[in-house]
């Protein structure tokens, strides 16, 4: 475990403290919610392919389950820290609460680099992780999902080990499973589509017709691709996307003023979301430096790649034409940029509202898995739209009523819901 100067858990606690003051939460509730309910830290011994035993460190942090079983991903990362997992578990609690799904927040991880592990070794890490935690997982307790450097394959190993321990089929234990193995239709699209559902509502509230708008998107991974696709389907025009170039170890922006064609770009995109710049040029795209996505003269910006992309240093490059920012990625806007955007009257849809489509659809997957009855895709996406729209309306109403930012309003609603659940249960 490596310690870092930036401590995400301290940041999460600081955010919580600020909202707790606004909500005038009592001291007991504050103490309960600013720390996780349960933390598991354990060793996972694995016999490696060379015959030696290596011991990995695993975590699971269950921040709060007052509103329902815990939900959160499992990360495989060499720099994983318990504090990172703590912070992420807290944010999961707020994200589930703002989406108003009956789940709490959790996060887990293993300190490892999957790039250096064979598939067999990765399988043993997954199975070892479950054996340590089996008593504290399950469809009614805590439901893991894929996250950084974990995939549907890892989830199936985890599920298989869990079911072997309990001697029954319990597909609702895990989400992110492949379709046909307990996965949900619509899960792939859910996060990107969810971003656009909230964006559509924002434009509607601002009295702007989607077909009169243009957008620039950072990233061309899963979230960005589906966000671009749906936004264009409802009439908008995306003029710029950006992507990471593995070979050059830098990012590029790809601009087409009359609108990018998702299918055309996908044909020249690798599986990590990297667009081939040579072939993109042949298709008529201008290839620009990666940070140019931010400076485009568009109405909407959708950062859908990484955290900390709009900062105090570059916020001034944003065009005065921009009216809405929809945060598809987690934490793309630094606090100082947040303040500058508010001064510029830019309507910002905060990350844990805009990108909650993923966890909402994970919840749907869990419900379907528990029933062992699976819905049609239009069923899934129809429900997703309503959930996302309702969440947006609740946040926007509060922001308007209290004259606060969308981010503050979202935090207030989420934390208030969790605090109320704790009170109702008699915990505080």
């Amino acid at each position: 475990m490596t310690s870092k100067s930036f401590n995400p858990f301290e940041m999460a606690q600081s955010q919580f403290d600020s909202v707790a003051r606004s909500l005038e939460l009592d001291e007991g509730t504050r103490q309960l919610l600013r720390h996780p309910l349960r933390e598991f830290s354990f060793a996972i011994p694995v016999r490696m392919d060379d015959g030696k035993v290596q011991v990995f460190r695993g975590f699971r942090v269950q921040h709060n389950d007052a509103r329902g079983p815990c939900k959160g991903g499992i990360r495989f990362h060499p720099l994983e820290t318990l504090d990172t997992v703590r912070a992420l578990s807290m944010w999961m609690t707020w994200k589930c609460a703002i989406a108003d799904i009956p789940l709490g927040g959790a996060k887990g991880g293993v300190v490892c680099d999957p790039h250096n592990l064979s598939m067999r070794e990765q399988e043993l890490v997954c199975r070892g992780w479950v054996r340590q935690l089996a008593k504290n997982l399950g469809p009614t307790v805590d439901i893991p999902a894929p996250d950084v450097m974990t995939s549907a394959q890892h989830m199936l190993w985890i599920l298989d080990e869990f079911e072997a321990i309990y001697g029954e089929r319990l597909p609702g234990t895990i989400t992110g499973k492949p379709v046909g193995m307990g996965g949900s239709l619509g899960r792939t699209e859910a996060t990107g589509f969810g971003v656009v559902f909230t964006l559509r509502e924002a434009l509607n509230q601002l009295g702007i017709r989607v077909k009169d708008t243009t957008a620039s998107v950072q990233g061309f991974g899963n979230v960005a691709q589906y966000a671009v696709r749906l936004y264009q389907q409802i009439g908008g025009t995306v003029t710029c996307v950006s992507s990471w170039d593995q070979q050059d170890q830098t990012s590029y922006a790809f601009r087409k003023r009359d609108g990018v064609d998702v299918d055309q770009l996908l044909a020249v995109t690798d599986r990590f979301g990297g667009i081939d710049k040579g072939r993109a040029k042949e298709l008529g795209y201008e290839v620009l430096p990666g940070d140019e996505w931010l400076a485009q003269p568009v109405d909407i910006l959708i950062p859908a790649a990484m955290e900390n992309q709009i900062t105090g240093d570059n916020v001034g490059r944003i065009s005065t034409q921009v009216k809405v920012i929809a945060e598809g990625a987690n934490g793309p806007t630094a606090p100082e940029a947040d303040a500058a955007l508010a001064r510029a009257n830019v309507f910002l849809i905060p990350d844990f509202l805009a990108n909650a489509g993923g966890v909402v659809c994970s919840y749907f997957e869990q419900v379907q898995s528990n029933m062992n009855y699976f819905w049609a895709k239009d069923d899934v996406l129809g429900r997703l739209d309503l959930k996302m729209t309702s969440a947006f309306v609740a946040v926007s109403d509060l922001a308007t009523r209290r004259k606060i930012s969308m981010r503050d309003a979202a935090y207030m609603i989420a934390i208030d819901r969790v605090a109320k659940a704790c009170r109702d249960r008699g915990w505080v």
Partner: protein, 581 residues
């Protein structure tokens, strides 16, 4: 009626009943013909039937939202269904392929929101672009589906709504629609479908949901009787859903200028036999079987006894007095009920007739042409309760002004093929040489379904060859009951330029006179002649059999005459005839 811009119609705000707008749209694109008619009638109501003109009466259109044509395009494209339009895939397989398709993500949230707040029946109707562009009716070509929408689980309601929309979508690619479009010189590639989701006007009675009456008003009457004139128009009324009228079932017909005129029946017992005895309702109970590709999946037919139990006959029924062989107005005495609508039309307690006449006038003026509209009404059960008349759709009528006369000596000509004193249409034609006729010597009522199939194939071939034809068959064309006639849809016979509906001793029924295909016949100016076997002159079967045989199937012959037939139909006098020289 000017073209309707989609921007004139507000977006659906996810509040179907409480949103302040009774007419909204979902998605991008055009809104189609029915939607345009509805906006038109809404505007007409607002301007002509101003609040207060008819106290105690609500005149409106049912709450409606239209899924624009762009959604159909996206549905077809994203589900890879376009190839079906030119394939030989049977209609039922096309319908199933559409059912398996996914609705575009842009609209599923709106549809989900709609069913989450609405628990009463919904009608899902086609509103096609060509219908709009051509002023042509697509009745009997595209589908309509009623759904009860009363299941406690919103998931079930949502699925049923999507199934109904996909069912309507699939009808664009049906063989019958493709044939029909060819008669309009259009291809399926030109067609786009909007879908109307509309509140079903009615009330729930036990497991049935229906209006007290449905009606069709026409400002031009092709069949004037008694002292009525064509320009006075005609109104057809039926108990329950309008399907009875649209399908050409038995209805009550009257002239708005003479609502109390005695009906054209020889006796009260005739009247009893020839008035509506069954009605359609939405089935609010369990559907008999799951069948998303059946139009009538959620419809139920009931008899007048059920209606009396529901207390829906108060304004619409009279009673047959068998001892005196007369009909007594109302339901105050025991006896068989007869749907004469006399309490409504003769008693003047409700301004029903005044409102309908005012609407016929107003829409005729606004269109600048003869019009036809469908409506449904809820009649008050208590004194002082409001009367509601809701307009479901409106369209212009095609009325030929040609002067045609048929002299008596023409009817005595040896070249006479057939003659009729019950016709529909108006005009003369001397271009048709092909005759498709059901073989009288082989005709049996049990074969009518097979005959319909043979006719459909012949129709397709003649369409390919670009030949219009004279069609002769027995019983009610388009009957939903195969024992009363040949159960074709309009698309199965749409290449016919003239249609003869005849009786036989073995098929001696009251003829439909074209009512099943009223819209199509009038719109395409097809001549329609009813010929009874027991009246002279009869059809000259010998001449027909002597013509060049083009094709013969088990029940149907296709022959070709060396010279064109001469067809004359005088809509004013109701007479028509066809000569072979």
């Amino acid at each position: 009626m000017t073209k309707l811009s989609p921007d004139e119609v507000p977006r659906f705000t996810r509040e179907f009943f409480g949103g302040g707008e009774c007419f909204s749209r979902i998605g991008e694109g055009e809104l189609g013909g029915k939607a345009r008619g509805l906006v038109f009638i809404k505007n007409t109501i607002e301007s002509e039937i101003a609040a207060g003109r008819f106290p105690g009466v609500t005149v409106d259109i049912p709450t409606t939202t239209v899924i624009a044509t762009g959604v159909f395009d996206a549905f077809v494209e994203r589900n890879g269904l376009a190839a079906l339009a030119t394939s030989d895939t049977p209609d039922d397989r096309i319908a199933l392929a559409f059912q398996a398709g996914e609705m575009p993500v842009e609209v599923v949230g709106d549809l989900r929101a709609l069913v989450e707040q609405v628990h009463t029946p919904l009608a899902v109707r086609s509103s096609s672009l060509l219908e709009d562009a051509m002023f042509r009716p697509f009745a009997g070509v595209y589908q309509t589906k009623m759904i009860p929408n009363n299941q406690p689980d919103p998931n079930v309601r949502f699925r049923r709504l999507l199934e109904a929309i996909k069912f309507v979508y699939a009808s664009v690619y049906s063989r019958r629609a493709r044939s029909y479009l060819r008669t309009c010189d259009r291809s399926i590639a030109d067609e786009k479908m909007a879908v109307i989701i509309q509140e079903v006007v009615g009330e729930r009675h036990d497991r049935r949901f229906y209006p007290d009456l449905s009606g069709v008003g026409r400002s031009y009457n092709f069949y004037p009787t008694g002292g009525a004139t064509p320009d006075e128009g005609v109104v057809n009324l039926a108990l329950g859903l309008g399907k009875t009228i649209v399908d050409g079932g038995v209805t009550w017909s009257y002239s708005p200028a003479h609502p109390g005129a005695p009906p054209p029946f020889g006796s009260a017992s005739d009247l009893l036999r020839n008035t509506q005895s069954e009605f359609w309702a939405v089935n609010m109970g369990d559907a008999p079987e799951y069948d998303p590709v059946a139009e009538t999946e959620y419809l139920v037919k009931s008899d007048l006894h059920a209606a009396e139990m529901d207390d829906t006959l108060r304004w619409t029924a009279s009673t047959y007095d068998g001892q005196r062989d007369r009909v007594v107005m109302g339901t105050g005495v025991d006896g068989p009920r007869v749907l004469t609508f006399a309490p409504l039309l003769e008693m003047h307690d409700l301004p029903f007739q005044d409102v309908v006449s005012a609407l016929l006038d107003a829409s005729g003026r606004a269109f600048g042409a003869a019009v036809e509209f469908e409506f449904a009404a809820l009649l008050p059960r208590e004194r002082g309760a409001p009367l509601r008349i809701a307009f479901l759709q409106v369209r212009p009528m095609v009325v030929s002004e040609a002067e045609v006369s048929i002299e008596d000596d023409e009817l005595a000509s040896p070249a006479l093929l057939l003659a009729s004193d019950r016709v529909m249409g108006n005009g003369a034609d001397d271009t048709i040489r092909d005759v498709v006729f059901v073989r009288p010597e082989r005709f049996e009522a049990r074969d009518t379904r097979a005959i319909a199939g043979e006719l459909e194939r012949l129709n397709l071939r003649l369409l390919d060859e670009g030949r219009r034809y004279l069609l002769i068959g027995f019983g009610r064309w388009g009957s939903s009951d195969p024992w009363l006639g040949i159960p074709v849809a309009w698309g199965d016979i749409c290449g016919a330029g003239a249609i003869v509906e005849a009786t036989l001793p073995s098929m001696n029924v009251e003829l439909s006179q074209g009512s099943h295909f009223f819209h199509n016949i009038t719109s395409f100016q097809v001549s329609y002649l009813a010929v009874r076997h027991d009246r002279q002159p009869n059809i000259d079967w010998d001449w027909l059999r002597a013509q060049t045989l083009v094709e013969e199937t088990e029940h149907v012959c296709h022959v070709r005459s060396a010279s064109p037939l001469r067809i004359k139909v005088d809509g004013r006098s109701g007479r028509g005839a066809i000569w072979h020289a």
